[in-house]
């Protein structure tokens, strides 16, 4: 019997290893595919023309593949969204750990985490049908589909992520630190601002990075609410076309292995590098956190 169960255990272990290996392999192959399909573009279009070009006319003769306005649009949308989402998310987390009573916290935290499960197409639809006309009338704008509306909707999406991760970081701050601070005569506000938040700082940083990487990669919301004009935004209320929306809108029509198709994959590579940078930053911060915590 022991021999049989041992054998079964090794079998299970092997199967799990194979499954884990498979998912890694598939992801690796998707990445490889992305590069194989995208890189050939640069034999006809130079990297600097691609990154700094102002015009995106993939179907005209001759085609132009310049993604600079989209790069700026993606950064602008992400930064504006973060400007809403980071203060909101972090302050909600502080309130949950430091101010709210445990009973309230037990109800609120799952509620906030549940909003993270809202499908992005629902948020996009809400932005398009409710928020955009509202903002358009409120500010007398040319169009409600613009950078501001898209950022607001993206902020909606990233607040739960930021709040939940930041809350975990704050909660992990040892009670002894709080107790020591209070014992020294600090008020609760002073303890929170001067002791707890600095102690959880890197965890909060990770939360912000993860929230931002979610915003920059988000497709449906920007496709539906950003307006889709390939220009450099001059104000918060100008329509923009962020990177993911270009890929989503045009891939179906691009002829297989044509120049346009390659250009869209090249755009995908740029987006991939962007999100990779954010995720690496998040990991770097959280590693520093766990090393410093000990």
């Amino acid at each position: 019997m022991p021999v049989a169960s041992l054998r079964r255990e090794t079998a299970v272990r092997r199967i799990l290893a194979v499954i884990a290996g498979c998912s890694l392999l598939f992801l690796g192959m998707i990445m490889l595919f992305l590069f194989i399909e995208g890189l050939p573009l640069f034999s006809t279009v130079s990297v600097s023309d691609f990154l700094s070009g102002m015009f995106w006319y993939p179907t005209s003769e001759p085609p132009e593949f310049g993604i600079f306005p989209m790069l700026v649009a993606s950064c602008a949308v992400t930064l504006t969204a973060s400007a809403f989402a980071i203060p909101l998310g972090v302050m909600t987390a502080v309130w949950l750990t430091e101010v709210a009573r445990p009973g309230v916290r037990r109800i609120c935290k799952p509620l906030i985490e549940m909003t993270a499960a809202l499908p992005s197409v629902v948020i996009g639809f809400f932005g398009m049908v409710v928020a955009a006309p509202l903002l358009q009338d409120l500010f007398d704008l040319d169009s409600g589909l613009n950078l501001f509306t898209a950022s607001l909707m993206l902020a909606f999406m990233s607040v739960p992520t930021i709040c939940s991760v930041a809350e975990d970081a704050l909660f992990a701050v040892p009670a002894s630190l709080r107790a020591a601070s209070l014992a020294l005569g600090a008020t609760r506000r002073e303890t929170t601002v001067r002791v707890v938040i600095p102690a959880a700082f890197s965890g909060i940083g990770t939360a912000c990075m993860l929230g931002m990487s979610r915003s920059i990669g988000e497709t449906m919301v920007v496709l539906m609410t950003a307006g889709g004009a390939g220009i450099l935004p001059g104000s918060l209320f100008d329509p923009v076309r962020p990177i993911p929306s270009v890929i989503a809108a045009e891939t179906a029509e691009a002829s297989f292995r044509g120049e346009h198709y390659r250009a869209l994959f090249a755009v995908g590579i740029v987006l991939f590098l962007f999100t990779l940078a954010f995720n690496l930053a998040a990991r770097h911060i959280s590693e520093k956190n766990s090393a410093g915590g000990r």
Binding site: Y57, P58, S60, S143, L145, G228, E250, E253, S255, F256
Partner: protein, 277 residues
Amino acid sequence: MKRTLFITLTALCFAAAIFAAPAAAAAEEIIITGSTTVLPVMQKAGEAFMAADPGISLSISGGGSGNGIKALNEGLCQVAMSSRDIKESERKEGKGKGVNAVRTAIAVDALVPVVHPDNPVKNLTVEQLRGIYAGRITKWKEVGGKDENIVMISRDSSSGTFETWQELIMAPDRTAPSALSQASNGAVVQAVAGNRRAVGYIGFGYLNPSVKKINVNGLEATAESALSRKWPIARELYVFTNGAPAGAVKKLTDYLLDPQKGQKAVAETGYIPLSGK
């Protein structure tokens, strides 16, 4: 062990089914490629056609009118979809390879500029439309409307509708990058209906009371004006075949031209059927 055997057998059966199915159905295959403007009609009609005639299987792909005609000339497809007539150079190239491209019109694609119902502007000339979309005309006042900015709504640059607009209205100019882009005809209607300053363009079939159609060069957009080719933003959509359609290909073109079958798909995809022809 028994279970493993069972799983393996099931997997084998599936594999066999997957490989065997096309082999059995491949009695007669028609390869169709070309214009992405014609593609939705072909896909819609093709599904019903294959259901009605299981002996023929269609392989439909896009790639653009030019690529479709090239594929026909090289014998890589039996039917080329095209949103324009064949060029003399393409015809010659085909002749050199023994291909005689024959044209069959299957639908008319007509676009209509639309504005918000509250917009007082009723008529625009082709030049004014070009000026608006090229970004030279930016105020409604300049074309007889209110003193407001014009918000132009376009389609994403790879759609067939965008291409038609580009060819028939914009050329030799280009649509300014400041145009808002929407992913579908329906989305354009919604965007225009929700914005008093907007102008957009849509396929004929998508007109509805939430937007106001604009007359172009004093002409009203109707199915008649489009079919008679008076409407300036209309073009015929074609399929090209090597020689007059015959056999399975003839069955397909007959199906496409049947007012009760293919032409219904034409109307459903937002184009104008060739009624009574």
